[in-house]
Symmetry: C2
Subunit: 121 residues, 2 copies
């Protein structure tokens, strides 16, 4: 098992070592993916459809947006709802309780950044 990981990549191996020694890094790797928290935040503010998100972030590409939405879904940070009786069909996302709890901490991070980076230094 260990040798199998090693064969794949030392990088991957280090990730496992790290994950085992400290769960924080797992969380950081989850939330730090680019655009991810912006997307989560936007969804919580009712920018909750693929096309709306595309308009909100013109610089993000489709497949990254799709990938992030998929990650957020599998991590249980957002829910996906398909609106019936629409053609072409419509998809609406919403932040879960878990996702909203995360946003609270993200907001604290933002405050930390504002406080420590702008005023003091």
């Amino acid at each position: 098992m260990a040798s199998e990981i090693k064969e794949n990549s030392t990088n991957t191996f280090n990730l496992r070592v790290l994950a085992a020694s400290c769960e924080v890094n797992e969380i950081l790797e989850v939330i730090a993916k680019r655009w991810k928290m912006q997307i989560l935040f936007s969804i919580s503010k009712d920018v909750n459809q693929f096309s709306l998100l595309k308009k909100a972030f013109p610089a993000i590409s489709d497949q990254v947006l799709g990938k992030r939405l998929g990650e957020l879904l599998t991590e249980g940070l957002i829910d996906k709802t398909i609106v019936e009786n629409t053609c072409p069909f419509q998809v609406v996302y919403s932040a879960t309780e878990k996702g909203q709890a995360l946003l609270v901490i993200i907001h604290e991070l933002h405050l930390w950044g504002k406080k420590k980076w702008d005023t003091i230094s």
Copy 2:
């Protein structure tokens, strides 16, 4: 200016757009570098020398450790002190107030992870 950025890399351009639109991402890019928060945390727990950190994280390479220490220094999250009267000379790091404030939030992140990932799912 914008065209100059564009020429360099669309990726870089997007980073600028993102940075302008939301400071949170800047912070995430700062704290999410691999090993970084572990290093900061370890330093706050008096694992505060290059060699000690190497022992604490056998899987990390020298130059990444050095790079992270440099980043933490320039960001004002840690301080560097050279111990006099030692040969070979010795370097001791310590977490700044700013760094410790960050660790508080990182700890909340950890708690969020434990609470939301383990018990519910």
